[in-house]
């Protein structure tokens, strides 16, 4: 198998292309991972410092959480790649429905 790849120029090119692409992807993943850890630390600091009001901290942490979910979906679960359209459609449908549900609960039940 290895031999065949070396000999066939087509396969060779394909192999090189894939290597380059994976390397690039790996780089992005490492950066994202570092960013995610950074955001987590920021969240902890925001609570730990104790100077901010609760009204600021809760939306702020929720915002960080949304960004993290985005990172997770798009950089680790490859949501933007081809062939993932349908799962993403379902994900977003479910997100919208869950959001409406939670919104309704916090606005009209626990007012």
């Amino acid at each position: 198998m290895e031999n065949e790849q070396v000999k066939n120029p087509n396969l060779r090119a394909h192999h090189d292309y894939r290597r380059k692409k994976s390397a690039k992807e790996m780089q992005v993943q490492v950066i994202t991972f570092a960013l995610m850890i950074f955001l987590t630390i920021v969240a902890f600091i925001a609570v730990g410092i104790g100077d901010f009001s609760v009204k600021f901290i809760i939306p702020f942490i929720l915002l960080l959480a949304v960004i993290q979910v985005g990172f997770q979906l798009y950089y680790f679960m490859h949501a933007s790649q081809k062939g993932h359209e349908l799962p993403m459609f379902f994900m977003y449908s479910a997100v919208i429905i869950a959001f409406v549900t939670v919104l309704a609960f916090v606005t009209i039940i626990w007012w």
Partner: protein, 628 residues
């Protein structure tokens, strides 16, 4: 392993059905069990109408009336309408997309058996101290105070059958996304497949709220928690929200497949392709989405506040738009078509005006201020029966006639079908049209009796006579089924002669592997295209080869049986709020769960690779020999 007519003993047939993973046999099981529950719910409906035939009647007492009324609703929705629709989905959808089976045949069987045992458990309540009596909505403020174990039968039974429905829904999603034949793009899928797809997505998103709600109610009643008990700091309104977040999409889970069935029947008998195919698909998806944004219109009078009421009122009215698109598309499909009046087509013709009446009264109720007047009156009863019977039951009866040849290889008598339709149609309008006016006159729903001299006598009498007519119609249908089965006159692949989709290209009933060669789909209405080019068969997409098939398995039966046993243990556990806990409750609960998880473990540890039908056997089959 054979689906062909080799004479087999009764025991062997029973074993075959207990273990089958073939979607066509599971369809038979769903149709049989769902049909049985449909008759049961129908008998309960008759009892309701007999009780309300005249004022101050005492055919049943108030408690029994509450139980009958609750079980009528619960049975019809969960145990009759949905399973019967699943029967047609199972029988038709895999073939419509050119697949040999659903994506997970084992789970398909598991879904059926969970439904079966859940339904049995719920109905055993009649013999074990009384059925649930808090209405099919089982609002927590009422159901927490219900005496006896009725509500526990409701929570546990629905929990078990709900798992089954969820599993089946996911199975259909996976099937439709992954198992389509080459060339079958999304925009070439027949409408019944599309509506099944969207209904399955709704099941996926709507059943978890029900599961959670029922789970919390179960814990409140059986294990001493206080989620819904206001006196202990709970919130009783949350049950209503959970229930309707599930309950409203449930209406679309029921009616969308019925829409799909009519979208197959109308083009077939108009001999014309469906008008506005892409707008039909768009409308289906849109109804699915909007279905989740409107649940609070069931709760206008709960006191949500003006803003919330206004938002949900507008969202509710918006659903009329995609539904209207569908209605006009059906009308325009018939426009200029060469219409053949068969029994399924008759139901389709009866469906359109009936369903429109139900839709119009729906928009009336969406007007929140008017709903304060209509809420909990017979107007509501009339409305949802127009939608559910005019939409779903007509769809089911139409599909029974339409797909009977495909499922069983014989054709139901058209003559008796006409009689059934006529009686049912007249009986239905007779029963429910007058109820609009009873409601406007102020008759509340769910009352066990009413007083004389309030102008309600005549309306209720007419309504009860209509119910009798419907009962007679169903009896004739049953007679039709029996006669057809006894005559056993086999029909060909395309018994309606105008079949458009792929299921009509293969034998009736189809061989157990469906397609010898996976077909190539060259456009919408695949089989019609091929017929118009003078072909006698579908174009194959692959050379003839071995076919990989799954093995039968009894494990789904035991997984479900375990939960059925565990449910008894949970109900009679020492902590239950009824106070009749038994010492054997906990052990039985553990044994039941042990059976379930043990069966799952066996399934996980034992490799089951299925088997192959060899090419030679398939060729032999062509010459008249039988595979098996």
């Amino acid at each position: 392993m054979s689906s062909v007519a080799v004479k087999k003993g009764l025991g062997a047939s029973v074993w075959e059905y207990l273990t089958t993973v073939d979607h066509k046999k599971i369809a038979h099981l769903y149709l049989g069990t769902g049909g049985f529950f449909f008759l049961l719910g129908g008998i309960e409906a008759l009892f309701i109408r007999i009780q309300l035939m005249k004022p101050n009647n005492n055919f049943v007492n108030e408690q029994l009336f509450n139980e009958i009324m609750t079980m009528h609703g619960t049975t019809m929705i969960f145990l009759a309408a949905m399973p019967i629709l699943f029967a047609f989905m199972n029988a038709v959808v895999p073939i419509q997309i050119g697949a040999r089976d659903v994506a997970f045949p084992f789970l398909n069987a598991l879904g059926f058996w969970l439904f079966f045992f859940g339904g049995m458990f719920l109905n055993l309540s009649w013999f074990l101290g009384g059925a649930p009596d808090a209405g099919w909505t089982s609002y927590a403020s009422l159901s927490l105070r219900s005496e006896g174990h009725g509500i526990d039968f409701y929570t546990l039974g629905l929990q078990i059958s709900g798992f089954g429905t969820l599993i089946s829904g996911i199975n259909f999603l996976a099937t439709i996304i992954n198992m389509r034949a080459p060339g079958m793009s999304f925009m070439r899928m027949p409408l019944f497949t599309w509506t099944t797809f969207i209904a399955s997505a709704l099941i996926l998103l709507a059943f978890p709220p029900l599961t959670i709600g029922v789970f919390l109610l179960m814990f409140d009643r059986l294990f001493g928690s206080n989620f819904f008990d206001v006196t202990m700091g709970g919130n009783t309104i949350i049950w209503e929200h959970f229930f309707w977040i599930f309950g409203h999409p449930e209406v679309y889970i029921l009616v969308l497949p019925a829409f799909g069935i009519f979208s197959e029947i109308i083009p077939t008998f108009s001999r014309k392709r469906l008008f506005g195919y892409s707008s039909m698909v768009f409308a289906t998806v849109l109804i699915g989405f909007l279905g989740f944004m409107v649940w609070a219109h069931h709760m206008f009078t709960t006191g949500l506040g003006n803003v919330a009421n206004a938002i949900f009122a507008i969202a509710t009215m918006a659903i009329a738009v995609p539904t209207g698109i569908k209605i006009f598309n059906w009308l325009l499909t018939m426009w200029g078509g060469s219409i053949k009046i068969t029994v399924p087509m008759l139901y389709a013709l009866g469906f359109i005006p009936s369903f429109v009446i139900g839709g119009v009264t729906g928009v009336m109720q969406a007007v929140a201020p008017l709903d304060y007047q209509l809420h909990d009156t017979y107007f509501i009863v009339a409305h949802f029966h127009y939608v559910i019977i005019g939409g779903v039951v007509f769809g089911i009866l139409a599909a029974t006639h339409f797909y009977w040849p495909k499922m069983f290889g014989t054709k139901l008598s058209e003559k008796m079908g006409y009689v059934t339709f006529t009686l049912f149609f007249i009986g239905f309008h007779c029963t429910f049209f007058i109820q609009h006016f009873l409601g406007l006159m102020g008759m509340p729903r769910r009352v066990a009796t009413f007083l004389p001299g309030q102008g309600l006598e005549l309306g209720n009498l007419i309504s009860s006579i209509g119910a009798m007519l419907m009962a007679v119609a169903v009896i004739i249908l049953l007679f039709n089924v029996v006669i057809t089965s006894i005559r056993n006159k086999k029909v060909g692949a395309d018994p309606w002669e105008d079949g458009r989709t792929m299921e009509w290209a293969i034998a009736s009933p189809p061989p157990f592997y469906n397609f010898k060669q996976t077909p190539l789909v060259r456009g919408l209405d695949t089989w019609w295209l091929e017929k118009m080019e003078g072909k006698k068969e579908l174009t194959p997409a692959e050379p003839l080869g071995d076919i990989h098939m799954p093995n039968n398995s009894i494990i789904p039966f035991f997984i479900s049986l375990g939960l059925f046993v565990a449910a008894f243990g949970a109900m009679y556990n020492p902590l239950n709020s009824v106070g009749d806990g038994k010492s054997w409750g906990l052990p039985v609960l553990i044994i039941g769960l042990g059976i379930t998880f043990g069966s799952m473990l066996i399934r996980s540890l034992r490799d089951d690779f299925g088997y192959h039908i060899h090419k030679e056997d398939l060729l032999e089959d062509d010459k008249g020999g039988k595979v098996g």
